[in-house]
């Protein structure tokens, strides 16, 4: 969500602290994913004051059968930065989806999205990621 380990850690601890205080007060919300929603909002709040990338038309490509080998060559931190650079709500959708911990209905709940929106964000995200992979690992450079 942030592409910055230090900020991520601060938000993680702030979220847990808030959760502990709420639990001590007996003020834990009924929503099952409130902790994750809270963390997401804190991340969005933290990046609000950051330098925002100019909105540009990202190139898109169809997902290919050999994308798997391109992805395997990716440095995890590069992928983290790429996802964190996406505008929200696409950033939240990609981050929550690829954590592979949540059902799509959970993601709709946490990120406050509709199915059509989530579907569009993920589909576009894949195509943009494929275009980025193609530019980063052109086919003729494949190992």
């Amino acid at each position: 969500m942030l592409g910055d380990l230090r900020k991520a850690q601060e938000i993680f601890h702030a979220t847990l602290r808030e959760a502990a205080v709420r639990a001590a007060r007996g003020d834990v919300p009924d929503e099952p994913f409130w902790l994750f929603s809270d963390a997401r909002w804190r991340c969005l709040e933290a990046t609000k004051s950051d330098l925002q990338p100019e909105p540009i038309e990202m190139e898109e490509r169809d997902v290919t059968a050999d994308a798997e080998s391109q992805i395997q060559r990716l440095d995890p931190m590069q992928l983290a930065v790429w996802i964190s650079a996406a505008p929200d709500p696409q950033r939240s959708a990609l981050a929550l989806f690829y954590l592979d911990e949540f059902d799509y209905r959970d993601i709709l709940d946490i990120a406050d999205l509709k199915l059509t929106e989530l579907s569009h964000l993920l589909s576009t995200g894949r195509r943009q990621l494929q275009a980025w992979l193609d530019s980063k690992f052109p086919k003729h450079n494949k190992a």
């Binding site: 997902v63 994308a67 989806f97 954590l99 799509y104 989530l118 894949r126």
Partner: protein, 257 residues
């Protein structure tokens, strides 16, 4: 939902298809996955998603934060409590069905508890009693007990005797007819409380042909009518009356079985 919107929804669902099998999928997602099974485009998407998820899991987490995570799932599958199980509509539906089936079983068991040889025929005859009109019978002005001679002489029916308890009642009419199993039934209408008497062959053992006897009087009930049945010499006699057991009890000399 028309076909087009249904296909569009499936497309939306497939774009959000779970990466790993451990995530629960709802019914609509399962249906979409089953329809897309084997499609090259979807297979590529799944491989793509799995590869990205693997890299995402390699993203370093600061040690200070990592210690908060156990090896267990972030969202362990919650065990269903008894309360939530009871609130499940499916559980309700099954419970109601089981209760209804059990109720029918108990009803059948209880209603057949007092069955005796010939009770099925007796119930059918109570139905006939309810629908019989006086004009359907031949007018007879005699005591009921004297009709056994008539049945023997005119219809060749032996032992079609009215028991002593009912022999002195004045008769309005009588007839002999065959039921749906070709058994010859004698029907007598008496003036006393508009009672009807039926005489019919007793049940016989299908193997030996022996009469299945039973002692005393037995009651049967059907459509608001009550019948008191007794067997003598291979012929059953039934006194039928509209009402309950109490209407017939005063006429029966022997205690109820």
């Amino acid at each position: 939902m028309n076909l087009l919107s249904s296909m569009r929804r499936q497309r939306f669902l497939l774009n959000c298809a779970p990466i790993s099998a451990r995530q629960p999928a709802d019914r609509s997602m399962r249906a979409a996955l089953s329809r897309a099974d084997g499609s090259a485009e979807f297979t590529d998407q799944q491989k793509f998603d799995r590869a990205v998820a693997q890299v995402v899991h390699l993203i370093a987490i600061p040690a200070e934060s990592a210690e908060w995570f156990s090896e267990k799932d972030v969202l362990p599958v919650a065990k269903r409590s008894w309360k939530s199980t009871l609130r499940n509509p499916a559980v309700w539906a099954i419970s109601i069905a089981v209760v209804v089936i059990a109720g029918v079983f108990v009803f059948n068991f209880v209603s057949h508890l007092n069955d005796f040889p010939g009770s099925r025929t007796a119930r059918k005859l109570l139905g006939i009693a309810a629908s019989t009109r006086p004009v359907m019978l031949d007018p007879v002005n005699a005591e009921a007990g004297t009709l056994s001679d008539l049945f023997f002489m005119k219809h060749g029916l032996e032992h079609y005797d009215v028991p002593a308890e009912f022999a002195e009642f004045a008769t309005i009419g009588c007839r002999v007819f065959e039921d749906d199993e070709s058994r010859r039934i004698a029907q007598i209408w008496v003036s006393e409380k508009r009672m009807q008497f039926f005489l019919f062959p007793a049940e016989r053992d299908t193997k030996t042909g022996a009469v299945q006897r039973f002692p005393g009087w037995r009651y049967v009930h059907q459509e608001g009518w009550t019948g008191a049945v007794t067997e003598h010499s291979g012929v059953c006699f039934m006194a039928a009356i509209r009402g309950g057991d109490k209407e017939l009890a005063p006429y029966l000399s022997q205690p109820r079985q």
